[in-house]
């Protein structure tokens, strides 16, 4: 069961390298930074497992476990960053709030403004004076989003 230990160690190293990468460079996406550090560590794990175990269930289990943990980590920190529910919960954990205070903290106009800022920072929208326009990448992302909605048969545009 050494493959299990190697896989867990590789994942811990990827999380540590990601934390470091996020502190060394500002701007950009935390998801892309994890992919940038996680891919080489994953490849190194694959080579190590192949050398030690050859083509076997141990190799596949170790690599697949690393991939699963990485995906789970990406999912959890993007959820923590973007979930309205978790944002409210973090505020409630600091101090009790009335429904009105929660509503004020999550003022709908401010939420739209914050998302617009994030889209501009992410290079998906550009702001010319008071108007927002999609960048080329933003337009591509919007088209992919529309294709995904059709694929999953979601209603609306």
């Amino acid at each position: 069961m050494l493959w299990l230990l190697w896989s867990l160690l590789a994942f811990a190293a990827a999380v540590a390298a990601h934390a470091l990468a996020c502190r060394l460079r500002s701007g950009g996406s935390a998801v892309l930074r994890y992919i940038a550090v996680g891919m080489p560590i994953g490849l190194a794990l694959l080579v190590l497992l192949a050398l030690r175990h050859g083509w076997s269930a141990d190799l596949l289990a170790g690599a697949l476990l690393y991939a699963l943990l990485s995906e789970l980590y990406l999912f959890l920190f993007t959820l923590a960053a973007n979930s309205v529910g978790l944002g409210i919960l973090r505020r409630l954990a600091r101090a009790p709030l009335t429904e009105a205070q929660v509503a004020a903290d999550y003022d709908s106009a401010a939420m739209v403004a914050r998302r617009l800022d994030q889209l501009v920072a992410g290079g998906l929208l550009q702001q010319d004076e008071a108007a927002y326009r999609p960048t080329e990448r933003g337009a591509r992302t919007a088209r992919s989003f529309a294709r995904l909605r059709r694929l999953f048969r979601h209603e609306g545009p």
């Binding site: 999550y106 326009r133 919007a142």
Partner: protein
């Protein structure tokens, strides 16, 4: 010696599951709702978990079986998590809805996008109710909302993840 057959079967199962969805199941009303699509993935995962535990119980000392069991669980986990993330992202991402609205209009001012604020208001109300329903928050006698012990633990875990990824302003 068990080879890698269980992992190969798990990959085949995922491909068949996806093919069945693409071939027609995606048009079913039940699978166009959050609960339906979640069950579509959760039921096979639970059944596979039970089968794997039974298979391991037959020879608990067989290291090959443990490797295959972890491999099968990882294959099914990666497939279902990826599928559900994409489904959920395309169904309800606030940022992507805003981006799509700007792209449809070609350009838009902040004021013109305020109709999207309704999504934010609906999200906030729905999330407060969900927190109460899940027992993560409770209503105090004075009417204020407070985090329960479980809610504080979840909030602490979420803060730890944000700290790890050095994400400042969030929510």
């Amino acid at each position: 010696m068990t080879g890698i057959l269980p992992i190969v079967l798990a990959v085949a199962w995922c491909l068949a599951h996806l093919a069945a969805y693409m071939a027609g199941l995606r048009s079913l009303a039940a699978l166009r709702q959050e609960r339906g699509i979640l069950l579509f993935h959760a039921i096979p995962v639970v059944l596979a978990g039970i089968l794997l535990l039974a298979w391991l119980a037959l020879a608990p000392g067989d290291a090959g079986r443990w490797a295959n069991a972890v491999g099968v669980a990882a294959v099914m986990g990666i497939y279902s998590m990826s599928f559900l993330e994409l489904w959920s992202l395309s169904e309800g991402s606030y940022s992507l809805s805003i981006l799509a609205a700007v792209a449809r209009r070609g350009q838009a001012s902040k004021a013109e996008l305020q109709d999207l604020a309704a999504i934010g208001a609906a999200k906030q109300q729905a999330r407060t109710s969900t927190l109460l329903h899940l027992g993560l928050a409770r209503q105090q006698p004075d009417g204020r909302l407070a985090a329960t012990a479980r809610g504080r633990a979840v909030a602490a875990a979420s803060r730890a993840l944000l700290w790890l990824a050095a994400i400042g302003r969030a929510g």
